[in-house]
């Protein structure tokens, strides 16, 4: 039987356990967010954390949870999210044509 290391009761801040947290368009209609964790332990912690479930991420971005995809890539300790963009890139009303600053709502996530 394997036991998990006891968690810090306060949890871990995502920005402290990942060395890359980035967002970018995957085409003008989708936003993709890549998180690369510092090590296998941090990846495992994040992969099982409710704070990084599709539902939790959908809530942070104000989109329907059914439209959020999550890909786990354990080999490189990465989690990818794909979300619909609220405004098609570059249409009037868009605030981030490249989608390059949309990772920020995740920085303060507590795992």
């Amino acid at each position: 039987m394997t036991t998990l290391a006891p968690l810090d009761p306060g949890g871990r801040r995502l920005a402290d356990v990942a060395h890359v947290i980035r967002s970018k368009n995957a085409g003008p209609t989708l936003l993709t967010i890549d998180i690369f964790f510092n090590d296998a332990q941090a990846f495992a912690l994040a992969a099982q954390s409710a704070a990084l479930s599709c539902a939790a991420v959908a809530q942070r971005y104000g989109v329907d949870a059914a439209l959020v995809q999550r890909h786990l890539v354990p080999g490189i300790h990465a989690i990818k999210f794909v979300l619909p963009r609220q405004v098609c890139a570059g249409s009037p009303g868009d605030g981030d044509v490249y989608g390059a600053q949309q990772h920020v709502p995740l920085l303060e996530v507590m795992l």
Partner: protein, 465 residues
Amino acid sequence: MNAVDRLLRSHRPQDGPLRVLAASGQLGYGIPEPALRRGLARAPDFIGCDMGSIDPGPYYLGSGTMAAPPEMVYRDLDLVLCAALDAGVPLVIGSAGTAGARPHLDAVVAVLRQIARRRGRSFRLVTVASDIAPEQVVSALAAGTLEPIGAIDLPSEEQVRACSHIVGQCGTDTLAQALALGADVVLAGRACDTAIFAALPVMLGYPMGLALHMAKIIECTSLCCRPGGRDAMLAELTMDGFTLESMNPDSHATPASVAAHALYEQADPLRVEEPEGTLLLDAACYEALDAHRTRVHGARFVARDRPSLKIEGACLVGQRVVLLAGVADPGFLDCLPQALAVVEQRVRALVTGAWKLFTHIYGQGAVRPLAEGTLRAGEAGLVLEFIAPQVELARTAAGVFKQNLLHYGYPGRKSTAGNLAFAFTPSEIDAHAAYRFVLYHVMQDVAIGDLFALNAIQVDGQQVH
């Protein structure tokens, strides 16, 4: 003999690796020359450059203009064209002039001709036009074979016809058709970034899966390395894999950095959809050869029965004028959104017509939603977009809005002399036309064979003009 024919006749995959030099992932923004020179010293079999993307937004496709500065486009094209001609190897450029529609293709051909004249160089150029006739899209719409990619609606027939340009991302098969015409330089309009680097290897008999996977990684040059960068990237392809090596000695292709690149700007890290089929990366392996180079193998390609085509189309929304101003008064910061709404109503009573306002309050959630309580930073920046059918109307709305906001008397106001700080005047600025994407869709079951117009041109720099 032209460079493509020479390569196709002389190179046999069993004789040794095919050396592919990716010179630029964004031609026109300044190719780093030291790394390019190192790459050229490695005697590449061909040179590829990506020149465009949909990322910069709908303006460039809609307006038919290039995003990169013309001077730098000339400089970069001059570098790679002379390098390829000197070495006698093919030069393949995709997504001409940012968005790859007819005006972009023509603009890049014009620069190539200009370089040829100034340098006295002659070469055989084959161009691929990626423009798709609106009728073709309307037919697909009627046949139910037009599918949205992500969060975008199916367009109406009128919206399709309103697009100023529609392009299709031509794939490896189309570029192979162009290369088969015999060329020193192949310049494609909108193209899959993979096709630029995969077409020649596939024509030479290398496996489609490996060729596409290699292409997918090197099209961004050294971005797949750690630290990532824009330096030229060399791939050495054999029948069972490829080796990746940055031409910047301080930028290292490691198994982790290369594998991580599969996630970049991709919706699915394990599948890449191409016109001809699907590239599957689930069995891809990345092994370090040393601290600087990584060997990759294992990607598979599954062809689809009928090709599909990603299409892009943009239409004019109106003429844009922006008003720039700063706000620092805490009382005004507290009521900015409400103040903008009230002033908009006042301006609408004064300036009639179909103008639209899009507000961006920097410091108060213009970039991403902010939680209540974090909104009131020390100051805010206003970028107010006015979009109207005529630029004069947009200017009028912006000018009247500026003065009304400057002197708006909000409740509790102490600064009765003015609400806005201007860094300069005029603070309302003509900001080009506004466009939007109407099309970012897949057309299924497309007869791709004759969709893209190919044109062979002898560019003669010796001619007297």
